[in-house]
Symmetry: D2
Subunit: 371 residues, 4 copies
Amino acid sequence: MRRLRMGMIGGGPGSFIGPIHRIAAELDREIELVAGCFSSQSDRSHVAGESYRIDPARAYASLDAMFAGEKARPDGIDFVSIVSPNHHHLPAARAALAAGIPVISDKPATATLAEARELAECVAASGLAYGLTHTYSGYPLVREARARIASGALGAIRKVVVEYPQGWLAGDAVGKQAEWRTDPARSGPGGCIGDIGTHAFQLAEFVTGLNVTALVADLAAVVPGRKVDDDCSVLLRFENGARGVLLASQIEVGEMNGLRIRVYGEKGGLLWKQEVPNTLTIHSLDGRTEIVHAGGTQLGPDAASRTRTPTGHPEGYLEAFANIYRDFAAALRGEPAPLLPGIDDALRGMTFIDTAINASREKSGWVALTV
Amino acid sequence: MRRLRMGMIGGGPGSFIGPIHRIAAELDREIELVAGCFSSQSDRSHVAGESYRIDPARAYASLDAMFAGEKARPDGIDFVSIVSPNHHHLPAARAALAAGIPVISDKPATATLAEARELAECVAASGLAYGLTHTYSGYPLVREARARIASGALGAIRKVVVEYPQGWLAGDAVGKQAEWRTDPARSGPGGCIGDIGTHAFQLAEFVTGLNVTALVADLAAVVPGRKVDDDCSVLLRFENGARGVLLASQIEVGEMNGLRIRVYGEKGGLLWKQEVPNTLTIHSLDGRTEIVHAGGTQLGPDAASRTRTPTGHPEGYLEAFANIYRDFAAALRGEPAPLLPGIDDALRGMTFIDTAINASREKSGWVALTV
Amino acid sequence: MRRLRMGMIGGGPGSFIGPIHRIAAELDREIELVAGCFSSQSDRSHVAGESYRIDPARAYASLDAMFAGEKARPDGIDFVSIVSPNHHHLPAARAALAAGIPVISDKPATATLAEARELAECVAASGLAYGLTHTYSGYPLVREARARIASGALGAIRKVVVEYPQGWLAGDAVGKQAEWRTDPARSGPGGCIGDIGTHAFQLAEFVTGLNVTALVADLAAVVPGRKVDDDCSVLLRFENGARGVLLASQIEVGEMNGLRIRVYGEKGGLLWKQEVPNTLTIHSLDGRTEIVHAGGTQLGPDAASRTRTPTGHPEGYLEAFANIYRDFAAALRGEPAPLLPGIDDALRGMTFIDTAINASREKSGWVALTV
Amino acid sequence: MRRLRMGMIGGGPGSFIGPIHRIAAELDREIELVAGCFSSQSDRSHVAGESYRIDPARAYASLDAMFAGEKARPDGIDFVSIVSPNHHHLPAARAALAAGIPVISDKPATATLAEARELAECVAASGLAYGLTHTYSGYPLVREARARIASGALGAIRKVVVEYPQGWLAGDAVGKQAEWRTDPARSGPGGCIGDIGTHAFQLAEFVTGLNVTALVADLAAVVPGRKVDDDCSVLLRFENGARGVLLASQIEVGEMNGLRIRVYGEKGGLLWKQEVPNTLTIHSLDGRTEIVHAGGTQLGPDAASRTRTPTGHPEGYLEAFANIYRDFAAALRGEPAPLLPGIDDALRGMTFIDTAINASREKSGWVALTV
């Protein structure tokens, strides 16, 4: 079985997420990075191509050039991975899909809700695969949590608390990553809510299997002069009536990448934390607390099939990311990939951003979240 | 220096908190339990008196009898401790103060806000000491957190997240403790918000030194048939503009007594958890994380003076509770006790309960919290 | 039921452990401190008596005076608690027992093995109760661990690792506590091995119900000029053939009071740590890990009866200490107290110290430990 | 810069460590797996080659065939990675080196000390690079620990405690991994001491920069019928007089891969745990405790250069393993690779195994460890 060939869009010099996508895509040897339009500046694209150690001839400076060049080769790319800032997501995806090339994209799916709707139309019209890298839903124990809830282990869900604290934007935004994420022209109207709030939102829906239907939001630009939100507190209501709380912040000094989720049902509760991702804590109504270990014998197939090492050999962020790419590779091969985040997550996430921003601005109480 | 003599009100057979107050009051040998009106039933009061090993003649069945009996003795009580369910708090405190006896009371201060206002008038009129056992503000490292924030170590405060998860009321309310706490006639209109939400509220204001000025609240009676709230999510605004989140729940299966607080400022952040109370985590903007240990050399006087053992010898809930009683004893002796929760905390806490219940019922957006 | 009356021996000004014993003894109101020979200097004994708030007339400056004075009172002491440095233990205990007064003593039981043997004879001759405050065996979850092992939950025990790291003597010995503990004239020939190694040794035997029968020891005086050991590594063999490791150190910078024990059997393993004493981790051969909580519903009677607060309300060192005193009070009342450490633990502990010191000095291999 | 081309020796169907080496080698795209002698059975080697998705023509069934086939290609292998059971290590390495091909090998280096000495001669004679995959020394925070100790941050080292608890061999040895590791014909005379004890030994020497010079060992075959040791307790002495303890076990039920190390010096102490590898705890003599985070700003170059993600995005075992391959790739390119474990570690590790086995068998006391 040959490796699928990936072309990258974005990921030029100074990119954080480009090299991450490369490692994740290739980790299981189902995919190989072979080409890229890493930058619209030819020299920068070539420098990036060298750093990825690809054939210099396949480091392009325009999407058209890449699509044409790759089409002309017997070993041309099978799909593109979009890793550029948000405002490039729609144009890049639209062009690729129009060229008949499947797409996997970093999140959030687009810069605005309107763009997401257009993207959904493009995907539907193309009939091609579309994946969205909500990395955290790739962690084995997140999938175990989802499977246990789906099996009824917690009973009906009553309460969800999902948090995503970071502190790296507590000071002035310095450096490439900070600059574009705090610039509405590139990130879209959402700052923190788009960058990490959507991860928390997707995780909550992914783990519970329940849709959010309403919210109250308090978004703030805490750092003086900041043009987008950097701190978000949102109360949620789920489709079954369960209550929820979603907190995301980038100004909480000392927090690193503290995504975590707690879910409580009639019969039990569970807890997972991204920074120590290889344990899942499960509580029962009778007072028992069980620790479930990644790689261990207590796991169902969704988690077991996405673990590469035995218990006690920690896997982390890159491996979780690789699991998303494995799902996408399966989808490209025409296999089932029910856990791959896709265009539905894209639309729901962008609707969440849009709804939360509006609700916060108007200081309204509860508002419906309708996709 | 003689021990101060305490009379207990409430704390009869089956009481959880009565014996806790007894241990806490006596731990440092500044106070001695000598009398009590443990129950309005004479036989039950005597049974309780025996369990506390006090003089049988001093186990009374009415407040009047206790006040009269103790007044007649040369070694009569110096103060009363009120540990009965909420609806008894005001009548008991009013009577004691009217009899010229200082009061320390379990929280919340009263069953309703109106009662709290009456209580405040009684306290003011009496000129006597009044203490409120917000136990958690007695932990040494909570006081260290307060001191560090007051000293400016975190810079201006921007964000506060205070949580108080419990799970013990996730099923039907069974047993004396659960029954009265879920009965509005005894607990007042607030369930979870009064029982533990007020602790979280007081802790947030105590640690930051900032008052809450507005809130959005989502209170729910999750368990079918429950007559008071058992799950509370509240967004906060503090007087300096800082944002806050207060979560309290009694239906989160597996959570025990998980009070915890995180505070973030311009220059740093800190974290404290009640269940592992002997460490305080402090983050700096430069990426440093420091662990501060109870009993250690890094502590200021507020914490150091309220620790009895060297580092690594864990103190816990009873010792924190005892610290409140030490403060109260100091107040009775006419010494400064600036950290003792008192009638201001009582009024603020009851206002918080009342405001949150109303805001949630009306599904309003932001409402002011005005004492 | 009246409170038992305690006289303290030692615990004068500057004592760390005297006030600890006072709190522990009185915590459950079964015992009351009423007298003491806190120092052989009259003024110092009186200062101490004031700090404990006892009747000044009952602060004595000699054992004879205390025994005579208390005998003459209708409310004289029921027992003595010996909290002085090690070299005073035997003389004090011998005198008390000769005067017909039961004894509870801090550990190690005596300064030397020869003294311990004499003590054992005194206890036997007196027919009186003798308790030894191996505090850590008072923790509820230590007792739960013992009960589970005794019930066969782990199968036959194969391996025990018990560690007691501290760092407070990593520098020069400064202060009253450090000085006498590093002075062989007061501490006996053992330093670390006697001060904390015996705790670890007792804990291992207590939890497993197995006696140590042989050892290899490596004891060192690491800090230049130190006259007693401050770092101890010992390999153990138990009576059933199980292997063990006992580590104790007072020069491990940053370690506070890190006593912990792990026990592994054919069918399971368990872990307990003194610094977070309210959880016990239990592993099964099938890969399950369970967390058992103090105060929770999973506990057997030995643990449940020695817990004062519900889950999540941490109890600590003082409460564990109080459990030893509750056992001793039961013994004084003629009730069964099977878990109270006594003269057997005294002899075994002193034999352990003696055997380890000799084995280490001679750099021998395995030597038998025979009481 | 082209990728280096790797040929694998071993790693056939059912191998655990073969796929791990493949991922680790390729993670940073400096190396590519292109060939392999995965099994001496042709069909099995081809099945493995397919699973690795390499060119079927490059899945060989003998070393001679691989060396000849690859030499004949313009894009032949640059080095071999030996991942077979221990008894194959020497023959494979000897053959590769004789064929002029550099070697990286799984540990322990050989099955016996005599073999290790022969290997050292082969390496010296060849003048080629030799790497030994002591994975754990590849963790960024292990390198940070080493760097801080080397810089004198802890002062002179006094004490080292290194532990490697596992539980997977507590029952009967079932499955390919367990079978060969407990068969002296394939593993060599050491079981646990060779499989994981050597990791602990190498880690202790790597982190402290100090050689072990003497030891006392207690090795046991705890599981009935086991032919090699499965539980090891070793006391150590380092070249500067520091004391040490090395514990390794494979029968500690519930332990997963719990390698951890604590080092204490005159001025500080540190702690690192493999299962939560992204924090390093550092204690100072003045009572301060600092948590150092992988990816954070407090790291020196050795750690910072071997981290791929920002703080809070956990890296784990595979990334640590990849760091060893990066060092090896650097060595192949003629660059400095001072932290790459090599033939010295091989000799020291095999000497440790041999010395410990003999010392334990003879129940001797202290014996010298001399390479």
